[in-house]
Assembly symmetry: C2
Homo-oligomer: 463 residues x 2
C-alpha cells in the first residue's frame, strides 16, 4: 500500500462561505479582490490536474458585475467562487467528461448549478474527473493525473478528483461533484474534506451527463461543514424534467436521540492496511463518545455493493456512451473504454435477476434501519499510490469502492467526514449513511463528527 | 368482433360471504351442506375449463372439521368455499401453472392463502389459467378452454380465467387470482364480476410462481363488493420474505370529496366496437352522476402500457421459465413458449432504456394524480370469441390488455367493476385506478359504482 507522505501534508482550506460573506459585508474584502487572489493561487498550483478549464476573465467580469449590481451583496452566495465537475453543463464552458473528443458546448446550465449562480456564486471553471465519471481513483484522465493533497504520490480518488482537490487546496469553499458509486465521497476522503451525497432526487440531475442514470446524484464537496447546509439548501428543489426528482421533506432531528449503527469490527476490512484500521478504531471511539450506538450487520450493504461491482448496472454507461465508443478515439482512457464496452455482456435477464436480489437486500437494509438512524463506516478501507493503481487499475478501484458502491443502489444518503490520519500521515474518513430522505439526520451526525475530528493529524489515543 | 350471445347469459353469483355467514349462524345452512351443494354445482357444470383440480373429499372433510371445532363458527370466513389460481401454492394440490409437466407438490401454502384458511375458509381446488400466467384471453391452456359466462363463444379472459368463472358461476363467493398486466381484471370484466388488484406489496407474493416478479400481484375476484373488503383485509400483511412487501396504511376517505378523472373520450379506443363504446359512454354518465369528475390525459398511461407490451419485461418470464422451456415439453402451449423464449432478444441496455422511459412516465402520472384521486377507464375496449383469439393469438391479446397493461408498471391499484352489457349482450366493465397505496379510495369508488351499475343488462339511457 502507500508509502508515508510528508507529515505536513493535507488540506489547506481557504475561507468558508460564511467567512467570505462576513469579509465582503464588513468591507475587508471584495469579490473581485478575492477572485484575483484565488486565480493567483490556481496559477501558483500550476497544472496539477485539478481543473480542466478555468475562465479567469469570465470570473473577474462576473465579480465586477456582482459588485455593481444593487442588492447583490444580500445574495446567500454573493461573490463566492466555486468549481463544477466537468460532467455537468455550465454555459460558457465545454462539457468534456475528461474526453476532449466527446466535448460539446452546452446551451443551458444545469438547473442545480444555475441556482448557485442565481444565489450570487461565481463559477471559476470545470474540474477534472475520471473519464465519463467511470472510476473512483482519479488516474483515469487524459489531462494531468491529480494526486491527493496528502502527498506521497497517493491517488486523489475519483471520479470527482478535481472538485475535491479544488476545495482541499483552498481555491474554493465548495465544489459541485457527482456520486454514483462513491465518486463524490472517495475523493473527499482522500483529500481530507467533506463529501455529501444527498438522497437521490433531491438535487436535479438535469444537465448532468449520466453515468448510471438510475443511480446518479449531484453531490457536494466542502471544507467547512457549516457550508454544506447553506449550499445544499440552495441546490435542492423538485424538477419536473428529472424523472427521479422528489421533494425534500425537512426532518425534525433530535440530535441527542439519534442512534448510530456501528458494524462489528470483524465485518470491516482494511485490506491489510493496519494503519488505516487503527485510525478507524480511534475514529469509532469518538463516534461512540458522542452518540448512542448500536451494533448492526454490514452484510446486506456489502452484498449490494458486490452486486453493483459485478452486476449489470455497467450497461447503463453503455446506454450513454455506447454510440460514442463504437468509433475509435485517441483520448479514451483504455480501461474506461473497456469497462463501458463490457456492459454489452449483460442480457435483460441479468438485469432482472440482479434487481430481484437488490430488492431483497433493500428490504433487509430497511429492517436494519428500523433500529438505527444512521450507520457509520469507513469511507475507504485503504489508500493507494498512483503507480499502485496504474499497475492494477480495476482491482484497486474495486477496493476503493468497497464501502461506497452500495449507497445509491440502496437509496441511501451519505456524508464522508475527515477523520484524522493514519500514523504514517495518510487520510482517514468516516462515512455516515442514512436511508432515503433522512438527509437531516445524516447532516446532523456528520456536522457533529466534523467538529470533533481532526483532518490532518492522527486522532489522539485518549479521546 | 363477437357475435351476440343469448340475452339471458351472464354471471349467476351464489351466496356472498356475508350471506353464507348469516345462514350458518341462523342454522339454516351448514358448511358441510353448502360444500356438498357447491360440489354438485361444479359437477353439473362439467369439464368447462374452470377448475384444474377440485378435491371434493378434502373440502368435505375440512367442512366437517370446522363444524366440529369449538369457536370456529366465529371465524370471519367460517365455512366459506373459495378457489385459488393454479400458479399459487396450496398444500394438498400440485401447482401446475396449466402445464402438467411443470407441476410440483408445494410444501407450504402461500401465506396470503394460509391467512384465508386460518380465517375458516375452505379451499375447493385450483383454477385454470393461461399457461405460466402468460396471456389475457383464457385460451392458452392444455386443459379445457373456458368461455365467458356471457356465452356466444366469447373468451373467458385470462390469465385468471378459472378464478373469474368460478365466482361468476356462483360456485364460490371469491377466488384468489393474480394480476401482472391485467390477468385479474380482464377475466373479471369478461365474466361480469369484480376484480381487485391491490397496490403491489400489500399482499404477500410468497408461494406464487412469478410471471414478472417485479410486477406480480395477488388479486381477488368477487361477486359482491362487500366481500372485497372482508377478504382483502384478511389477506394483507407485511411479509419479510416478499422483497416488495410494504405496509397498508389505511386512508381516511371522504367519498364525497373524491375527484374522479375521466380521459377525453377521443383518447379512448374501442377497436371499432361501437356497441362497447356506447356501453362505456352510458357507464361514464353514471360515474359523472355519482362523483365530481375532472378531465385528464391518458397519454402517459397508454405509453407505459405500450412499453410493457413491446419492452423487455417479458425477460422476467424467461428468468422464471427459461430453464424449463430449454427442454421440449408436449404440453407447453406454443404461443406461450414462443413469447417467453422471445425474452432472450433483450439486452441489459434495453432494460435500462425502458426503465428510464418508465421513470419519466411515472413522474408524469404522479403529476396527473395531483388533481384527481382516481381515474376511471374501460377495463377492456372490446371482446373476442375463442376462434377470433386462436386466429390471432398475439394481436387480440394485446387489444385485451390495452387498458390494463400499465397498472403495475406505474405502481397503481385497480378495480374492475361490471358496468352493464352492450346492446348485443356482451359484458362491459369500468376500471377504477389509483396511485400506490390509495386502495381505500379505489375501493370506495368501486363499491359505489357497483351499487349503481347492472351486471347482465345494458345501462338504461336515461340514467
Amino acid at each position: 500500500m502507500a508509502e508515508a507522505p510528508p507529515a505536513t501534508a493535507g488540506p489547506t482550506p481557504g475561507p468558508a462561505v460564511h467567512e467570505l460573506l462576513a469579509a465582503y459585508r464588513n468591507g475587508s474584502l471584495t469579490p473581485g479582490a478575492h477572485v484575483r487572489r484565488v486565480l493567483d493561487l490556481v496559477a501558483a498550483h500550476g497544472d496539477d490536474g485539478t481543473w480542466i478549464s478555468v475562465d479567469a476573465e469570465a470570473a473577474l467580469a462576473r465579480a465586477a458585475e456582482l459588485e455593481a449590481t444593487p442588492g447583490a451583496a444580500d445574495l446567500p452566495l454573493y461573490g463566492v467562487p466555486f468549481g463544477v465537475k466537468d460532467s455537468i453543463d455550465v454555459v460558457g464552458w465545454p462539457t468534456t467528461l475528461a474526453c476532449p473528443s466527446y466535448a460539446y458546448e452546452p446551451r443551458e446550465t444545469a438547473p442545480a448549478v444555475q441556482r448557485l449562480l442565481d444565489a450570487g456564486a461565481i463559477c471559476l471553471g470545470k474540474t477534472n474527473l475520471d473519464q465519463f465519471a467511470t472510476g473512483l481513483n482519479g488516474t483515469r484522465t487524459p489531462y494531468t493525473v491529480p494526486r491527493s493533497v496528502f502527498g506521497g504520490d497517493l491517488v486523489s480518488g475519483g471520479s470527482s478528483s478535481g472538485s475535491a482537490r479544488a476545495v482541499a487546496l483552498g481555491e474554493v469553499p465548495f465544489a459541485v461533484a457527482t456520486d454514483t458509486a462513491g465518486s463524490g465521497r472517495v475523493p473527499a476522503a482522500l483529500n481530507g474534506v467533506l463529501g455529501y451525497k444527498p438522497s437521490r432526487g433531491l438535487v436535479s440531475t438535469v444537465g448532468l451527463v449520466p453515468a448510471c442514470r438510475s443511480l446518479d446524484c449531484l453531490s457536494l464537496v466542502v471544507a467547512d461543514p457549516a457550508d454544506l447546509r447553506t449550499v445544499l439548501d440552495l441546490m435542492v428543489g423538485v424538477d419536473e424534467r428529472d424523472a427521479w426528482s422528489r421533494p425534500y421533506a425537512r426532518l425534525d432531528v433530535d440530535e441527542h436521540a439519534l442512534v448510530v449503527g456501528l458494524p462489528d469490527e470483524d465485518g470491516l476490512t482494511f485490506f491489510g492496511d493496519e494503519a488505516t484500521a487503527d485510525a478507524h478504531t480511534r475514529a469509532r471511539a469518538v463516534v461512540a463518545g458522542l452518540f448512542r450506538t448500536t451494533a448492526t450487520s454490514l452484510a446486506p450493504f456489502l452484498a449490494a455493493g458486490e452486486l453493483l461491482y459485478s452486476g449489470p448496472w455497467v450497461a447503463e454507461r453503455l446506454v450513454e456512451f455506447g454510440d460514442f465508443l463504437s468509433v475509435a478515439h485517441d483520448d479514451v482512457v483504455p480501461v474506461v473504454g473497456d469497462i463501458i464496452r463490457g456492459g454489452a455482456r449483460f442480457a435483460a435477464t441479468d438485469v432482472f435477476r440482479a434487481q430481484y436480489r437488490l430488492a431483497e437486500l433493500k428490504a433487509e437494509v430497511g429492517r436494519l434501519f428500523a433500529s438505527m438512524d444512521v450507520l457509520v463506516l469507513p469511507t475507504i478501507g485503504t489508500t493507494f499510490t498512483v503507480p499502485e493503481v496504474l499497475a492494477d487499475p480495476v482491482g484497486t478501484n474495486t477496493v476503493l469502492g468497497h464501502y461506497t458502491h452500495f449507497g445509491n443502489l440502496l437509496d441511501l444518503c451519505a456524508a464522508a467526514v475527515p477523520a484524522g490520519t493514519t500514523a504514517d500521515g495518510r487520510p482517514a474518513s468516516l462515512m455516515v449513511l442514512g436511508p432515503a430522505l433522512s438527509d437531516d439526520a445524516v447532516l446532523a451526525v456528520a456536522t457533529r463528527l466534523a467538529a470533533h475530528l481532526p483532518t490532518s493529524a492522527p486522532i489522539e489515543e485518549s479521546r
